[in-house]
């Protein structure tokens, strides 16, 4: 759901940059506080992996495809939605400048949607479901799915405000496609990745596994 520059008037694009910037700042502050020799390799592996998986568009029928966003997965592993904002900001910077995927002026909106909205929605849905005693895999599946769907609806509303999409038809179309992309591209892959990490490196998930409160603060 990378919004290209031609879809957003410059003034709108700037407003989304202004909203996204405090989150980007906080995500860097999170990194300054949390990064150590043990976490740097995990962050680097996730940055590379999320970039690669975003190049893999999965067909969902209806002549449409979609790919994973990954903010929820990163947020669950680091037990902070700020980690998702940071990784998605880096991924979107490289995608925009090197590969013309997603706009440059529209990058603020894309960071807001895929980093902030998808990561926060996904992570806090996951935390809420864990508190309701749902298993790791189910909670991460539903969280990641919800994160993707809500961020797609946010993008649709932004395009309505931009005068491009009719409100209801836009939300219906974006919602329908991303409901399915959220199941296959986001929920399933996130749950599989979490299950794999749970088996091979349960210590990495200790924070989110045992205590959903830990490190889950906004700043």
């Amino acid at each position: 759901m990378h919004i290209p520059d031609s879809f957003l008037p410059l003034s709108h694009a700037l407003v989304y940059w202004v909203i996204a910037l405090p989150f980007i700042y906080l995500s860097f502050r999170w990194a300054r506080r949390e990064m150590d020799d043990m976490k740097v390799p995990v962050l680097a592996a996730l940055a590379a992996g999320i970039f690669a998986i975003q190049a893999l568009n999965i067909p969902i029928g209806m002549g449409t495809s979609g790919h994973m966003v990954g903010a929820t997965l990163v947020a669950i592993i680091f037990a902070s939605p700020m980690a998702g904002v940071l990784v998605l900001t880096l991924v979107l910077l490289v995608q925009g400048f090197v590969f013309a995927d997603g706009g440059i002026t529209a990058m603020g909106a894309n960071i807001l949607n895929m980093g902030v909205i998808s990561g926060f929605t996904g992570y806090y849905a996951f935390v809420t479901l864990r508190k309701m005693k749902l298993g790791m895999k189910s909670a991460s599946f539903i969280g990641a799915w919800a994160g993707l769907l809500i961020s797609a609806i946010a993008a649709s509303v932004q395009l309505t405000v931009a005068g491009l999409f009719p409100l209801v038809a836009g939300i219906t179309a974006m919602g329908t496609y991303h409901l399915v992309i959220g199941f296959v591209g986001e929920g399933l892959i996130t749950a599989i990745a979490i299950a794999a990490i749970e088996r091979s490196r349960p210590d990495l998930l200790e924070n989110s596994f045992l205590n959903p409160e830990h490190g889950g603060s906004v700043a």
């Binding site: 680097a44 590379a48 992996g49 002026t105 038809a169």
Partner: protein
Amino acid sequence: MNATISGKRNTKFLYAGLVIALVISILAPFLASSDPDGLESAAEGVLGEERMSALEELAPVFESPMPDYSIEGHGKAGEVGAIVIGTLIMLGIGLALGKVMKKR
């Protein structure tokens, strides 16, 4: 757990993650669907093809070196190359940022 052991295991995690990322990068040009993504499909639906292609014709704000994950004139090999380069750039940025940011 002892910090050194955990550090080594995280280096292993990095290698495993990098291998997975590179395998996906190499396979993506062959496996990825070329159908429009959710946003493009939705835009085509609500705007109509004519308005959609008019918007897509607009000159980009910035000339990217490898637009659409491809290297001009190199076909599938160029696409593999582009995505592998991107994955390695991300690895580099991740490591560099982590190094700059990490606690001393």
